[in-house]
């Protein structure tokens, strides 16, 4: 048997051995399961992406329809003093409901995920969650805010916060994740002074130390808040 033939057989044997180990490893770790998991997961992700696309389209359509209605009402108001007076009342109500964009002095509170603490597996305190955002929004309204938005989503009198770890869902919008920017227009000095108080937002401040979550406060002479672009229906409420 030639030397080359022996080498060839040895190489084939080594490759066969490696293949055997791989196949055994594959079977042992149930490699088909991750493949199925991946397919299922990808299907779910695709569903979420499709629904978010529809959501975005609907919100753009709502914003466009509201602008068209405003223009039509404006044209009607040119023709009648009664309509003009009503239009003025509704404009004020719409502004307070968050249906029109506003700007003015204010404060931006930036929130960001921290670092998971070592030896504290399963603790999600390093993630910014919906209750953090809810706390900041409530705090700002209680200390001089006239309007608030979160990552470009305007808060209304009926706004609700929900979500799971690390995700923040506001009203009918898609989930938001860190970094979160809470912008408020109102009494800038009062809001800034309240936020500077070390006793303000105790849970966030505690996690700022334990998990290094980001809590940054920036004052501004002119912040812009967008109009609310989702549903504001109250089908179960009657006023008479």
């Amino acid at each position: 048997m030639s030397r080359n033939r022996i080498v060839g057989i040895l190489v084939v044997a080594a490759v066969a051995l490696a293949t055997g180990f791989l196949v055994a490893g594959q079977v042992k770790s149930q490699l088909l399961t991750p493949s199925n998991q991946l397919a299922r997961y990808q299907a779910l992700v695709r569903s979420v992406q499709d629904l978010e696309k529809t959501n975005q389209g609907s919100r753009a359509k709502i914003a466009s329809l509201r602008a068209e209605i405003d223009a039509l009402e404006g044209a009607a108001a040119q023709q009648s003093a009664t309509t003009r007076a009503l239009k003025g009342q509704v404009a004020d109500l719409r502004a307070h409901a968050g249906l029109t964009a506003i700007h003015g002095p204010g404060v931006e509170v930036d929130l960001g995920n921290g670092i998971p603490a070592a030896q504290q597996d399963g603790q999600l305190g390093y993630l910014i969650n919906y209750q953090d955002v809810q706390d900041v929004v409530n705090f700002l309204f209680a200390h001089g805010a006239e309007g608030v938005s979160v990552n470009g989503r305007r808060i209304t009198p009926l706004s609700a916060f929900s979500g799971s770890a690390g995700q923040v869902v506001i009203d009918q919008g898609p989930p938001l994740t860190s970094p979160i920017k809470v912008r408020s227009v109102g009494d800038r000095n009062r809001m800034a002074a309240a936020l500077d108080d070390a006793s303000a937002l105790p849970d966030l401040r505690d996690r700022e130390i334990r998990f290094q979550i980001v809590l940054t406060i920036i004052g501004s002479p002119d912040l812009k808040l967008p109009a609310y672009d989702s549903s504001l229906q109250v089908p179960h409420v009657s006023t008479n």
């Binding site: 293949t19 990808q42 009342q89 404009a91 009926l158 812009k224 179960h236 006023t239």
Partner: protein, 231 residues
Amino acid sequence: MSAPTRRSAPARRRSGRAIEIWLIALLVALVATVQIRSQAEVERSLVGTDTTTLAFLIDDLHRANDALSAETADLAQRKTSLQSGGSSAADQELAAEANRLRAIEGLVPVHGPGLVMVVDASGLQALDLQDALNNLAAAGAEAIGVNDHRVAVGVPILQTTSGVTIDGAAVTPPWTISVIGDANRLSIAADLMTQQMRADRRVRTATYRVQADVAIQSVITARPYVYANGS
């Protein structure tokens, strides 16, 4: 000119064996690559979001998109009405809109189907009340009153040395929370909330009852903007 050289039989065999070895090596590399990439993709995509969370997210997005569709249909109908009706149609639309917005902002008394929750406890904080109200809002609450104080996002609920205040007024337990909205959705949330509250040692009782007509007479005082300007 010499004839083209032909490879000998042993040389052909050696060449065939080399191809076989390369094919096997290629196959092994392929399997290993697919495997590693597949697992890496699973790990990367699953970071922070499990399938259960995604399923809940899909459910929420479906509900949100349904609400957005209803709003779109309503706005389209209002637009058509304005396009065809002149200033009298505009007056009607604007009066209805003003009425609706006053209800949303808590400026007028309201009534409708919903539920009344009663929580008797000692030591509950403003944050507990804020969380409870947010849970009800997330379940579709359209108007809320607590012990005859109207609440909405923007109304300050604060912790003071003497207890919880709503817009500066003390709210002592028991808290009677009146809610208007879809009674089915609200009662699912109320069920969970009262169960959780009863497990809290500070809570003496936590109950709720669904009502066909809940009346909320209290209102919020309108505050004009001082700092904000329209764009």
